[in-house]
C-alpha cells in the first residue's frame, strides 16, 4: 500500500512540474507587456522600461521561472501588478467562496448522479429508466450558464426565494453563505450529474451481468441486496474515474458561473486578471487549479486501491 501511494505521489510531483512549465511558458508567450498595460498607451518608453525592470520582467526566462517556483515553494507568490497586494492574499480571499462552491456542487452532482444511475440500472428498460435517461440527455445538452439564467428567472425573479447574484459571505453564519451559493452550485452540478448518472447506470448494468451476481442470487440474496452488497462496490471504479475528471470540469465551470452570478470567487479573479493582463495572478491561479485537479485524481487513485483488493497486487 505505501509503495503504491509513494509511486502515485512521485507521479503527482512530476505532473505538477510539467504543469508549471506549460503554464509559465504559455503565459509568457502571450502578446502584450504588463508594464505597458498598467501605465496606459501614452506612457513614456522610459517609464515603461523602469516599471518592467521593477516587476522583474526584464530577467531571462529561466531565472523568472525558477524565481516563481521558489516563491511557490515558500508560499510567496509575489504582488499583483494591478492591485499591488500579495497574490496569496487575493487568492485566499476568493477561495473562501470557490472551495465551498466546488464542494457543494460536487456533493449535488454525486447525490443526483448516484441515485439516478442506480435507480435506472435497477429498473433497466422500464418506464422509470427511460424517463430518467431522457432527462439526463436534456441535462447533457444544457449549457450551464443558460441553465443558470433560467434558475435565476425562476427562483430569484419569480419566486424570490434566493438572490440573483452576489455572495453574502460567512460572517452572518453558514446559511446565508450557502443560500447565495445554492443556485450557482446547482447550475454547475446539473450537466455533470447528467453525465455521471449515465456512467453510473452503465457501470452498474455491466456489473449486474457478471457471474458473481448470479452466484449471489443463487445464495438466496434478493435483487436489492445483491445490488447494494455485491454490485455497487464493483461499479464504483469507473464512476470514480469520471468523478475525478469532472472535478476539473467543475473548476473550469466556476469561471463562467461566478461571472453569471457576480460571485467574487477564484474564477472571477482569473477572468478579471486576464482582462487586466495581471499575468502574475493568472499564472498562480491556474497553477492552483492544476494542483487541485492533480490532487483530486491522486485521491481517486488511492481510493481505487482501497476499494479493489486486486489493485495492490498489480501495483497499477
Amino acid at each position: 500500500m505505501s509503495v503504491f501511494v509513494l509511486r502515485r505521489l512521485l507521479t503527482l510531483l512530476a505532473t505538477l512540474v510539467g504543469a508549471s512549465l506549460i503554464i509559465f511558458l504559455v503565459l509568457d508567450a502571450l502578446p502584450g507587456n504588463a508594464a505597458q498595460m498598467l501605465m496606459g498607451a501614452d506612457a513614456s518608453p522610459d517609464a515603461v522600461r523602469a516599471l518592467t525592470a521593477k516587476l522583474g520582467l526584464d530577467q531571462p526566462l529561466a531565472v523568472r521561472y525558477l524565481q516563481w517556483v521558489k516563491g511557490l515553494l515558500i508560499g510567496d507568490l509575489g504582488n499583483s501588478y494591478v492591485y499591488g497586494t500579495p497574490v496569496a492574499g487575493l487568492i485566499a480571499e476568493r477561495l473562501v467562496l470557490t472551495i465551498p462552491l466546488a464542494i457543494m456542487s460536487m456533493a449535488i452532482t454525486v447525490t443526483l448522479a448516484l441515485s439516478a444511475g442506480i435507480y435506472t440500472a435497477a429498473n433497466h428498460n422500464k418506464l422509470g429508466d427511460v424517463g430518467v435517461m431522457s432527462l439526463t440527455q436534456v441535462g447533457i445538452a444544457l449549457p450551464n450558464f443558460w441553465f443558470a439564467i433560467l434558475l435565476v428567472l425562476l427562483f430569484a425573479v419569480r419566486l424570490q426565494w434566493l438572490s440573483a447574484g452576489g455572495f453574502a459571505g460567512w460572517e452572518d453564519g453558514v446559511w446565508p453563505g450557502v443560500k447565495s451559493l445554492l443556485l450557482p452550485a446547482v447550475s454547475l452540478a446539473v450537466v455533470q450529474a447528467a453525465i455521471l448518472a449515465r456512467v453510473t447506470r452503465s457501470a452498474v448494468l455491466e456489473v449486474l451481468r457478471e457471474d458473481f451476481v448470479r452466484t449471489a442470487r443463487a445464495k438466496g440474496l434478493g435483487k436489492r441486496e445483491v445490488l447494494w452488497s455485491h454490485v455497487l462496490r464493483n461499479a464504483m471504479i469507473p464512476v470514480m474515474t469520471v468523478m475525478g475528471l469532472q472535478f476539473a470540469n467543475l473548476l473550469a465551470g466556476t469561471i463562467v458561473i461566478e461571472n453569471v452570478f457576480y460571485l467574487p470567487g477564484l474564477g472571477r479573479l482569473i477572468f478579471q486578471s486576464i482582462a487586466n493582463r495581471d499575468l502574475i495572478v493568472v499564472r498562480n491561479c491556474v497553477m492552483l487549479l492544476a494542483t487541485m485537479v492533480v490532487i483530486v485524481n491522486f485521491v481517486v487513485d488511492v481510493l481505487y486501491a482501497l476499494i479493489d483488493p486486486r489493485i495492490k497486487v498489480h501495483d497499477l
Binding site: 458473481f212 443463487a218 455485491h230
Partner: protein, 337 residues
C-alpha cells in the same frame, strides 16, 4: 418420515421455458419431466444451447424476468413455478444450491472468500458474524482448501481455478441443501483438477445424502458420477434412463452420435474425430417435428411431422424417436464404430 422418503424431493413435469432472444422468442425448453428422490443423482447431457442450463436455472428460479415458465416444478410437493422472488430467496442457497461453470468469475473479486462462504449462513441460518466465520473455516477445510484458518480473509484473485471451485462448493454446501445443481463444474478446470473436484462433489453428495443434478457435455463425466441421465437436444429430452442402461443400449441417434464423437484413448494418430453433421439449430427456429431431424442419419418424412413421443425401450429407459427399431438394431455397430 417414511412417507417423505418415498415422495420425490423434486418433481418436474412438462416444464417449458420461453426466452426472449435477440432473434425473437425461443422455446428453450419443451416438455421436460423428471423426478428425483432424496440422495438420487441425475445427469443432464447435451451440446451448448440444448436447454440443460436453462432447465437448471428454472429450478433455481433465476431465469430472466422476461422468461415464461410453463409446467410444474415441485419441491417436497410444493409448487415452485411462479413462486414470488422473496419466497424463492428462502430456498436458494438453503434447500437448493448451485455450483457454476466458471470459478474464475463466479466469486466477487471485492469480498473475502470467508465473507462469501459465510453469506448464506448469515442469511438463512441467522448465524452471528463470529459463528458464520467459524463455520466458513470448517467448510473450507472440508472442501480441501489448504490452511483455511489463515486464508479465510484472502480475496478470490489469490486462489487458483481449482481452489476457487472448492470455495464455490463450500459456499453451495454451507446450509446443507437437499438438492445440489452442478452446472459444468469442471469444464473450466485443468484436466488434472477435474477428477479431484468431481470426487469431492461425489463424496459430499454421499456424506450429506443430497440429491444432485449434474450438467455436463462430457459423457465420461456423466457415466462416472450419476445414477440416471437425460440427454437433451433442442430443448427436449431425447433419451433418459439409468446411466448404465443408456450407455449399454443407447437408443437415440443423437446419443449415439455424441458417443461416437468423443475422443478415444488408443486411437491411431491422425484418426479424425467423428462428428455429427450439421449444426445445433437455433432455438428461435427449431424444425417442426423431431428437433434432431435435420441432422439425423436415420431421418424419414414422418420424423418431420410431429415431435416423436417418448418410447419405453427398457426399464425406466425412454427414447424420443420413432425409429428405435432401426437405431437400436444398429446400436452394437454404433458402439464399436
Amino acid at each position: 418420515m417414511a412417507e417423505r422418503s418415498s415422495m420425490p424431493l423434486i418433481e418436474v413435469s412438462n416444464l417449458g421455458v420461453r426466452l426472449n432472444t435477440s432473434r425473437g422468442p425461443a422455446q428453450a425448453v419443451r416438455g421436460v419431466s423428471f423426478a428425483l428422490k432424496r440422495g438420487e443423482t441425475l445427469g443432464l447431457v447435451g451440446e451448448s444451447g440444448c436447454g440443460k442450463s436453462v432447465t437448471a436455472m428454472s429450478l433455481m428460479g433465476l431465469l430472466p424476468d422476461s422468461a415464461v415458465v410453463t409446467g410444474s416444478i415441485k419441491l417436497d410437493g410444493n409448487e415452485l413455478a411462479g413462486l414470488p422472488d422473496a419466497d424463492y430467496c428462502r430456498l436458494r442457497g438453503n434447500r437448493i444450491s448451485m455450483i457454476f461453470q466458471e470459478p474464475m468469475t463466479a466469486l466477487n473479486p471485492m469480498h473475502t472468500i470467508g465473507n462469501q462462504v459465510a453469506e448464506p449462513l448469515r442469511r438463512h441460518k441467522k448465524y452471528s458474524a463470529g459463528q458464520a466465520r467459524k463455520e466458513a473455516i470448517a467448510l473450507l477445510d472440508r472442501v480441501g482448501l489448504p490452511d483455511p484458518a489463515r486464508r479465510v480473509d484472502a480475496y478470490p484473485h489469490q486462489f487458483s481455478g481449482g481452489q476457487r471451485q472448492r470455495i464455490t462448493i463450500a459456499m453451495a454446501l454451507a446450509c446443507e441443501p437437499d438438492l445440489l445443481i452442478a452446472d459444468e463444474p469442471t469444464t473450466a478446470l485443468d484436466v488434472t483438477i477435474q477428477g479431484q473436484i468431481l470426487d469431492l462433489i461425489a463424496d459430499l453428495v454421499d456424506e450429506r445424502g443430497m440429491s444432485m443434478i449434474l450438467i455436463s457435455h462430457d459423457l465420461g463425466v456423466i457415466a462416472e458420477n450419476v445414477q440416471r441421465m437425460m440427454v437433451m437436444y433442442g430443448g427436449t429430452v431425447v433419451e433418459s434412463g439409468p446411466t448404465d442402461e443408456v450407455f449399454r443400449r443407447m437408443g437415440h441417434p443423437y446419443t449415439q452420435g455424441l458417443f461416437r464423437a468423443r475422443p478415444k484413448l488408443g486411437a491411431r494418430k491422425g484418426t479424425r474425430l467423428k462428428t455429427i453433421s450439421g449444426t445445433v439449430p437455433e432455438l428461435a427456429d427449431l424444425p417442426a417435428g423431431c428437433t434432431f431431424s435435420e441432422r439425423c442419419p436415420l431421418v424419414i418424412d414422418a420424423c418431420r411431422v410431429a415431435l416423436p413421443p417418448m418410447v419405453e425401450v427398457g426399464p425406466g429407459h425412454g427414447v424420443r424417436c420413432i425409429r428405435t427399431d432401426v437405431s437400436m438394431a444398429e446400436t452394437v455397430g454404433a458402439l464399436s464404430a
